[in-house]
């Protein structure tokens, strides 16, 4: 078995009675398909994530066409959409399905599975100095369960009644009653099955990440010497472990309501004048359960991006990260607080105003650790010897987007202001900047930075710059105007607003947004080309192309199974010794003992010499 070799060098004395006869070369399937190697699993997640990102992006272009040109005829889309175009018009229910699937795909399949799945898998063992994940088997299972969830979700796009259409938050009663909307038929059933599998996959992955970080760190790698990426992945996994089961519970109750006639979320509903038999349910209950996951989920998306960005900024500013412990503290703070703010999504559900103020207070506190992180990133770049690599540009872009989107969060967090802004494009603008775009930037920053370790080649920098600038400009052009129409009261998830006198004046603005969105989507093909082309033709990478301190850069150009050919290196220092005064070079890898750096040691480090 493949993972047997892993333990060979480390625990040589542990003889594996049952395995030694299997010392054959791995065949194609073991190596690339059902691999137990965390690096291969990471790439599998990455490829799936990229695939899903293009699907999700494409869906958004479709509904932006409708919003940008509400009077146009879309007969040219018939070859792709078939029956969903009726007499040149997009079917309104299908519009809702598009929005729903776009949200679901982006939040869960791209920014949760694609982001954490890729980078937690790839970086945790490499950066803490482990041969692999705690359980390679569970890790593989996690990916394949995710794969099955993906197949079901993808398939649901093509069924006759269309995919789920009740919004990514699938509020009942809309999502619970097939009579209510076509998408609440089979499409919703598939959505629920797919999401249940997805949750199982995330839990399998998360259990592994946590166990690995806690148990398999190499010698010297204390919790205060691990890179911030690892702290971020650890906290992300903890959030997932606590939040996803709650979503599973909610999904289960919804499944029972839909298929077994229970009334957890349904009560006193009339359809076409006919009363349904359900009594005693509470739709608000679902919202509580959903957002108890939903809010931590947004941090599940953003924390890994924060971790990647911290690492890339420190490396490319050639400076120690500013406030390492404050960074850890604020991430822990964000993680804890994220469990006690969920009702800020529910200010207008008729909740007790006093309860609303409590949640408002807790919500606004989150701004504090968020701001600490922002200041620390800026302070790290400040007067740094900045190298503007493509990854660094995306990292800086992340900080910018996180600030722009975070500020509107503080506005939304006020329960009084939210009465006006709830369910308008203001909210859409807020979360696309702070979560959507920022997390994507974090992901791009990660891909550009760790690509050499993943594929042994470099991505093209020039194309990276073009990709960055086009994306950065497009993101702001798309989402800034949305604040404006949102403040004017323009509601989200409306197929058509031309019937409303007040909103007609925004037609041009909407067309503009749609054009910018198409422009931004097209720019992503530059990335796709660069990514695929460089796998085969990119410039060959060296072991440590960015002169970085962390452990993954001490492995060979293409690390094999087990990561280090010889012994696992021990660690002596924190990962941020960049531009240390007195040092020979502007970086000192974690593996260099203090005894070799006497000229640069600080007074308190003399003891370790």
């Amino acid at each position: 078995m493949s993972s047997t070799d892993i333990s060979m060098t480390r625990d040589v004395h542990h003889v594996h009675e049952e395995h030694d006869e299997h010392h054959h070369d791995q065949n194609f399937f073991e190596k690339y398909i059902f691999s137990l190697d965390h690096k291969v699993i990471a790439k599998q997640y990455l490829f799936m994530g990229i695939f899903w990102a293009f699907v999700g992006g494409f869906l958004s272009i479709l509904f932006r066409l409708q919003l940008g040109w509400p009077e146009a005829t879309f007969t040219f889309l018939e070859p792709i959409l078939g029956g969903w175009i009726e007499n040149g018009k997009l079917n309104p229910e299908f519009y809702l399905a598009l929005v729903t699937m776009h949200g679901t795909i982006m939040v869960f399949f791209v920014l949760t599975a694609g982001l954490s799945g890729t980078f937690s898998n790839f970086l945790i063992p490499l950066q803490i100095g482990a041969r692999d994940m705690a359980s390679g088997f569970m890790n593989m299972l996690s990916f394949w369960v995710f794969f099955i969830a993906s197949v079901i979700m993808f398939w649901s796009l093509f069924i006759e009644t269309g995919p789920a259409a009740g919004g990514w938050t699938v509020y009942p009663p809309l999502s619970a009653l097939p009579e209510a909307i076509q998408g609440s038929g089979d499409g919703m059933t598939m959505w629920l099955i797919s999401m249940a599998l997805f949750i199982v996959s995330q839990l399998l992955g998360g259990v592994n990440y946590i166990t690995t970080v806690i148990n398999l760190r190499t010698k010297g790698m204390s919790m205060t010497k691990i890179p911030l990426t690892i702290w971020a992945f650890l906290l992300t996994a903890v959030l997932g472990l606590l939040a996803f089961p709650v979503l599973l519970s909610a999904a289960l109750l919804l499944i029972f309501d839909r298929s077994f006639g229970t009334s957890f979320f349904l009560s006193d509903i009339y359809i076409a004048g006919q009363a349904l038999s359900n009594t005693g349910g509470s739709a608000i209950l679902f919202q509580h359960l959903f957002w108890f996951l939903g809010h931590p989920e947004v941090y599940i998306v953003i924390l890994p991006a924060m971790g990647l960005v911290s690492e890339v900024i420190a490396t490319n500013a050639r400076k120690p990260i500013f406030g390492y412990r404050a960074m850890i503290g604020s991430m822990v703070g964000i993680a804890v607080l994220s469990f006690v703010v969920w009702a800020h999504h529910m200010f207008v559900t008729g909740m007790n105003p006093f309860l609303g103020s409590v949640f408002m207070f807790l919500t606004l506190i989150i701004a504090v650790p968020s701001a600490v992180k922002v200041f620390n990133w800026i302070a790290t770049i400040w007067r740094g010897n900045v190298r503007f690599t493509a990854a660094m540009l995306f990292a800086i872009g992340f900080v910018s987007l996180f600030i722009s989107g975070g500020l509107t969060g503080i506005i939304l967090g006020n329960s009084a202001l939210d009465i006006q802004l709830h369910d308008t494009y203001f909210v859409v603008a807020h979360f696309h900047l702070v979560m959507g775009a920022a997390a994507f930037f974090g992901m791009f920053c990660g891909v550009y930075h760790w690509y050499p370790k993943m594929f042994g080649r470099m991505m093209d920098e020039k194309l990276g710059y073009i990709h960055f600038w086009l994306t950065f400009i497009a993101v702001y052009l798309v989402f800034m105007p949305m604040h404006y129409i949102g403040i004017a009261g323009f509601p989200r998830r409306y197929y058509n607003w031309t019937g409303f006198e007040t909103f007609n004046i925004f037609t041009d603005l909407n067309t503009f947004i749609s054009l910018a969105a198409i422009f931004g989507f097209v720019a992503q093909f530059i990335f796709l080309f660069n990514f695929v082309y460089s796998i085969f033709r990119g410039r060959r990478a060296t072991e440590n192309p960015w002169h970085s301190n962390t452990l993954e850069w001490t492995t060979p150009v293409l690390p094999g199974h087990g990561n280090w050919p010889g012994e696992i290196p021990a660690v002596y220092r924190w990962p941020y010794d960049y531009s240390k005064p007195g040092a020979a070079e502007d970086y000192i890898p974690q593996t260099v003992p203090f005894s070799q750096t006497q000229s640069s040691n600080l007074p308190n480090e003399k003891d370790f010499e």
Binding site: D132, S135, L203, T211, F260, T262, S263, G280
Partner: protein
Amino acid sequence: MVMANFPIEEDNDHGVHPLKFSLWLIIISIIMMFAAFTSAYIVRREEGNWLEFNLPGILLVNTIVIILSSVTMQLAHNSAKENNVGRLKLMLFLTLGLGIAFLVGQWYGWADLVQHNIYFGGTGSNPAGSFLYVLTGVHGFHLITGLIFVAIVLSSSLKYRVHSKKMLRIQLCTVYWHFLGGLWLYLYVFLRLNH
């Protein structure tokens, strides 16, 4: 099994074994699921329109059965430690039997509910009843996974693969089984207090 090709064997001496650690994490996620169910139960109950009924009497019997099964599981664990293979097998058999008895008992509990016109779904069902079915049902599902685990340990003990030098598997099984018992105890007390 998962642990068969696990990179680190059990006698690693620094701290908890990674698999045991993983098991605890899985237990935490199951706890979160039930925390969600039971808090939803309370929230929903506060809103009124809640059907009050008596819990089936057999639940108390089931509770005693599952506590007994925890005792036998612990004895099995201890016997493995003392290399008492005969008693180990006996105790595992007993655990398996008691576990199945518990499930059968829960089934009778459901039958009892139906007899009193308390249904899971459909016309005339009330969330009060539905919640009871969900709590017992989801617990029962996890108990089945526990039984499979016990069966696996039992089968390896029949092949003399469980003994004082190979404790990991039975340790994990014991932890999981005690957890399932404790979980039921919590649910039972919760239902007693809140129905």
